[in-house]
């Protein structure tokens, strides 16, 4: 199948998922009733549709951030989770919750702001360590990222420990990934961020291809690799921070999706990027649908669904790749 055909097929499937999943769930909704005033139409328009859209935006951003990370590190295991960006953002949000930070900035609430600051702190710490030991090797970046990941994870645990019981429960709920939304404010915010992120990544095609090829190659073709890497990481902090603040640190999407999109996109940049967004968004919509309908009336946190399904899927993918290359 040609890459273009795959792309359209994928886009159609994602649209279908977005259109169909809001009708399904613990309460099935009659498609004919959603245009009238009734409880079903309220659930559809105010709860499930915004939730599906938010899931799409979050999944798209996470998957794209994974692809960007992998390009920047020239390593297809690098993700914002591994580098501590996600846990930095989560720690920021937890602190905001703990101290009930009420401040807002440009319409963004305390949790969004603190998530962004946490992600930023993680990234600045990585750069500070690299500067301290005067090494700009990617290996140093990766290792300090992993250390910072552990640091922020323990900050989160400490916060859980000192929280009172009721808060801890809601915190735990959020930390395992939860797409909970009522209304459209957050939905539009995240969809707009996804659009900006996508446009940036598409416009910076040459730059991302160059850094992925190798530092020497990129530099001798005229790219200031160190500066590009720095600004890209700052951008990642914004996008990942926003998703984490709204949906919690949802794992595996950033790792798994780029693997699939790279092979479906046949190394073509634009196609790979678009497939990444569609696939990441679509998968999270489906995972969230499963999360809220697998064990009624309990909702399983979506982060658990993505990890539960993602882990074996990822292994199967690796095995298939190994088989093909053997």
């Amino acid at each position: 199948m040609s890459t273009n055909k795959k792309l359209w097929l994928l886009a159609g499937t994602v649209l279908l998922a977005l259109a169909v999943t809001p009708f399904l769930g613990i309460v099935a909704i009659d498609p004919l009733a959603v245009l009238q005033q009734n409880p079903g139409s309220f659930i559809f328009w105010q709860l499930r549709l915004p939730r599906a859209l938010l899931g799409f935006a979050a999944g798209g951003i996470l998957a794209l951030s994974g692809l960007v990370c992998q390009n920047l590190f020239k390593n297809n295991l690098a993700t914002p989770d591994l580098l501590g960006i996600s846990s930095g953002a989560a720690a920021g949000a937890v602190v905001a919750l703990q101290f009930k930070v009420g401040l807002t900035f440009l319409g963004a609430g305390g949790m969004v702001l603190f998530s962004f600051l946490g992600a930023l702190a993680a990234i600045l710490a990585i750069f500070a360590i690299a500067r301290m030991i005067r090494s700009s090797s990617l290996y140093t970046f990766l290792m300090s990222g992993i250390a910072i990941n552990y640091f922020f994870s323990s900050v989160i645990v400490i916060c859980q420990y000192v929280f009172d019981f009721a808060d801890t429960f809601s915190l735990l709920r959020w930390l395992t990934g939860a797409i909970v939304v009522a209304g459209y404010r957050e939905v539009f915010f995240l969809l707009a961020l996804l659009a900006i992120f996508l446009v940036c990544v598409l416009l910076l095609r040459d730059e991302f291809l160059l850094v992925a090829a190798g530092d020497d190659f990129a530099m001798t073709r005229g790219l200031d690799v160190a500066a590009f890497r720095k600004y890209s990481f700052l951008g990642l902090a914004v996008f990942v921070g926003a998703v984490v603040s709204l949906c919690g640190p949802i794992g595996f999407v950033a790792l798994v999706v780029p693997h699939v999109s790279r092979s479906w996109g046949a190394s073509r940049y634009r196609e790979t990027v678009i497939i990444t967004v569609l696939l990441g968004g679509g998968l999270l919509v489906l995972a969230d649908f499963l999360a809220r309908s697998l064990l009624p009336p309990v909702e399983v946190p979506v982060g658990i669904v993505t990890s539960l399904l993602g882990a074996p899927f990822f292994l199967a993918l690796l095995l298939a790749q190994l088989k093909r290359s053997a």
């Binding site: 020239k74 297809n76 090829a213 001798t220 005229g222 190394s267």
Partner: protein
């Protein structure tokens, strides 16, 4: 073209290049040789503007190398490292078109001039069949050829190569040498770091010998048993056979 004045480079107080002075003229073909660890690759990286903490001065086209922005530098020289990376898949076409990166700004599409340079590179290096291949699946010889074609498409007057023949079979090596020869004939300046003295000796117009980071010889191509023996610690012989100069180690 490019000159070094009092060029030194050290890492953690360990001196790698010591006080080098030389001038590479336009359309020179310089063969840089010396033992492993003599500082050849470091010298090449300094000349390519990859290591900017070097002491002393390097001037390119009369201007200090440090004063060039990356993109300006990329319009004047191209550097082919000893080992390329390509840890992620990348199409050969994209590798080649990256050569036009210095000439473009972010919103600019490829111009006709870009496409002409690209087409000329593809034709001259015979890459028509490889364009949609993934760089990672190419053989060593094909990869080297693609990278050299990229430097050609980059359209720079100065090309710096670090061990371009490593891991190549004799036929691929010969092919690459021919391509380099053609680039030199077209008027480009070439600096090659290589242990394959016998291969590059006939092409070289100048030779640069490094020993423990210091300049042992810089000047016109010459065959000196004494120089080679001093540098490598083994003696060399030259014979002429089938109309060619052949240099080999005397055992």
């Amino acid at each position: 073209m490019i000159e070094a004045r009092g060029l030194s480079y050290a890492v953690n107080q360990r001196s790698i290049l010591r006080d080098l002075d030389f001038t590479v003229e336009r359309n020179d073909f310089v063969l840089v040789f010396g033992r492993n660890g003599a500082g050849k690759s470091t010298l090449l990286r300094v000349l390519a503007g990859m290591l900017r903490e070097a002491k002393g001065e390097v001037r390119l086209a009369g201007r200090s190398l440090a004063s060039y922005a990356r993109k300006d530098l990329a319009m004047r020289l191209s550097y082919l490292p000893q080992a390329d990376e390509f840890a992620l898949p990348m199409l050969v076409r994209d590798v080649l078109l990256a050569g036009r990166y210095p000439y473009r700004s972010i919103f600019q599409k490829l111009t006709r001039r870009d496409m002409e340079a690209f087409a000329a590179g593809v034709a001259q290096f015979g890459l028509e069949g490889l364009l949609t291949r993934n760089m990672q699946t190419l053989s060593g010889g094909e990869r080297k050829k693609v990278l050299l074609a990229g430097a050609f498409i980059q359209d720079v007057p100065l090309i710096l190569l670090d061990e371009p023949l490593s891991f190549l079979d004799p036929a691929s090596a010969l092919h690459l040498v021919r391509l380099l020869e053609a680039l030199h004939r077209e008027g480009r300046t070439i600096v090659v770091v290589s242990h394959e003295i016998e291969r590059f000796f006939p092409l070289a117009t100048k030779m640069l010998a490094l020993q423990s980071g210091a300049l042992r010889y810089f000047g016109d191509r010459m065959f000196s048993t004494q120089l080679f023996q001093d540098i490598y610690g083994v003696s060399f012989q030259r014979i002429t056979a089938a109309g060619r100069e052949i240099i080999f180690v005397n055992e």
